[in-house]
């Protein structure tokens, strides 16, 4: 600024005034800073509040309509009745035990099925002939409704915990295998070429390239599989079981205890949401590791 003043002084005193006036005009205006992040944050907050509001509205509406009789509370129950029945069931019944039973068979089946499927899919890298012979059978098994197998599996493994896990595995294993196989098929041939040029043996290419390369595909099967595993476990309990939320729902239905059916449905929804959230967390962690 000092230099500009002296320059202007040489030119003319009027020039100084004009320049100062100009400067003061420019200074008065506050800069508008574009902040897309702040906009995004406020948008997200906004959306969250709306979501909560919609949820509340649904629950309150449900309660009000069943109370004033616009909805028949015999079929639709009501949030307060569901809560009350759940409380009673938790104290006098075996709600907690049922939840543990169902989530236990679901998680065990999910882990075994997904892992087993992924390993099966990865083995297809070893021989193209073996992979292509198996491929149509994989497609058929994937298309087949595995739940239709439920009675057979229950007869095979009994009415205990094992048959529920077996059904959850049956539901998830093919999805796991197909996902891993897609990963295996997409491995960059040049990457394999580089490994061989470095003198790698096949198992080294497999462990150092094929497995990490396929991980994102395997990880993407987790979300689908957790929901499938839960469906498998519940159907297993429907067929024959002494425990579990599925058995509780079936039992409540046969004695026309609609409130208890609703308790089961709500509990399963919450269970499924929690497990889904857990899988999303796991997925994020794994993706960070393998999808740099």
């Amino acid at each position: 600024m000092a230099s500009s003043l002296t320059n202007e002084a040489v030119a003319s005193p009027v020039g100084i005034e004009a320049a100062e006036r100009e400067e003061s005009l420019v200074r008065k205006e506050r800069p508008v800073i574009q902040d897309p992040e702040a906009l995004e944050r406020s948008h997200r907050r906004n959306v969250m509040w709306w979501r909560i509001a919609v949820g509340m509205l649904l629950i309150v509406g449900w309660e009000v309509f069943t109370t004033i009789g616009w909805m028949d509370s015999y079929y639709w129950s009501s949030p307060s009745m569901i809560l009350q029945t759940a409380w009673v069931q938790a104290l006098k019944g075996n709600l907690l035990g049922d939840i543990l039973y169902t989530s236990g068979s679901t998680i065990l089946g999910f882990v075994l099925g997904t892992l087993g499927g992924a390993i099966l899919g990865l083995t297809f890298w070893w021989s193209r002939k073996y992979a292509e012979v198996c491929e149509p059978y994989l497609v058929i098994l994937n298309a087949m409704p595995k739940l239709a197998l439920a009675p057979v599996l229950v007869i095979l493994f009994g009415i205990g915990f094992t048959s529920k896990v077996a059904l959850a595995i049956a539901m998830t294993v093919i999805v796991g295998a197909i996902s891993a196989y897609s990963g295996v098929k997409s491995v960059d041939a040049d990457m394999e070429k580089l490994m061989y040029s470095l003198g790698a043996k096949r198992w080294q290419v497999f462990t150092k390239v094929v497995i990490p390369w396929s991980m994102p595909w395997i990880i993407s099967s987790l979300r689908i599989n957790i929901a499938l595993a839960l469906a498998g476990a519940i159907v297993g309990e429907f067929i024959a079981s002494r425990e579990g939320i599925g058995r509780m729902i079936l039992y409540a239905g046969t004695i026309l205890d609609i409130n208890l059916v609703w308790v089961g449905v709500v509990v399963l929804s919450i269970l499924s949401m929690i497990m889904y959230g857990g899988v999303v967390l796991l997925e994020r962690k794994l993706m960070k590791e393998f999808n740099k």
């Binding site: 960059d188 040049d190 990457m191 070429k193 580089l194 490994m195 061989y196 040029s197 470095l198 003198g199 790698a200 080294q204 150092k208 390239v209 990490p212 991980m215 590791e289 393998f290 999808n291 740099k292």
Partner: protein
């Protein structure tokens, strides 16, 4: 001096769409130890086929490849090989990528790291040890890929258009960088390129390949002294050599285009 690499009467025939295609025909190269040899030619002249055969990744239809007087047809792991794509494993850090070759050979990780770190520092990768490939520029990634090849510690190195995907400025920098490395290690280098300037600037000998079927059309020795500097690229001998290579190549490109039009 004894020949380090000898490619003797190598041809490669493919069947494609029921027609026999000659990718390479009766090619012979004799390369002395410690030379920097470039191969230039129109695209599709079988340069990459030749490299795959030397690297042991593909059997030739006829002929053999000798290294240190030993037949290495079908033997992988005898030469270091670097492709145009850097082929760094995205889930490994730069350091872990650079020691991959040693790791495959069973060198303990500690020892491999101890050997890699000084080289990374010397050749401009200091500070990137724990970065992932995605975080580096194209030039830096190629440096890492080349160091991986160097650390694999073979006497013979094949470079298949390593700088083909880089912009002109980075490319020049990488050429100087490669010359420095080559002068330090004195490996025998086979270098495929499309770039005549690059071939002259870097090489001791240049093989000019003919259009398909690929065979050697000329072998030219670059008379310029080493170490070379960028000012050599504007010297009269450089320009003269460039003119000669341009004439040789443009003839081949015309033939390649004509044969494409027929088929």
């Amino acid at each position: 001096m004894a020949n380090k690499v000898e490619v003797i009467g190598v041809s490669k025939y493919f069947m494609r769409n029921g027609k026999e295609i000659v990718a390479m025909q009766d090619t012979s190269l004799f390369i002395e130890e410690g030379r920097f040899v470039s191969i230039i030619g129109p695209s599709g002249c079988g340069k990459s086929t030749l490299f795959n055969i030397i690297a042991g990744l593909m059997p030739p239809s006829t002929g053999k490849v000798m290294a240190d007087g030993q037949n290495i047809v079908g033997k992988t792991g005898y030469v270091g090989y670097m492709l145009q794509k850097d082929m760094l494993l995205p889930w490994r850090t730069i350091l872990d990528n650079i020691i991959l070759g040693m790791e495959i050979r069973g060198v303990p990780k500690k020892e491999a790291t101890a050997r890699a770190l000084p080289l990374m520092e010397k050749y401009g990768l200091k500070g990137f040890e724990n970065h992932y490939p995605k975080e580096l520029s194209g030039g830096m990634r190629q440096r890492a890929a080349l160091l991986r090849t160097i650390l694999y510690d073979r006497d013979i190195i094949l470079l298949d258009e390593p700088f083909g995907a880089l912009d002109a400025q980075t490319r020049l920098m990488m050429q100087n960088w490669l010359l420095q490395i080559w002068e330090d290690f004195r490996k025998t280098v086979l270098f495929v390129t499309h770039d005549i300037d690059e071939a002259i600037y870097l090489s001791d000998d240049i093989y000019v390949f003919s259009a398909r079927p690929g065979r050697i059309k000329a072998k030219i020795t670059v008379p310029m002294a080493r170490p070379r500097t960028q000012s050599d690229m504007t010297s009269p001998e450089f320009t003269e050599l460039k003119q000669r290579l341009l004439d040789l190549l443009s003839e081949e490109v015309r033939i390649a285009e004509a044969s494409e039009r027929i088929s």
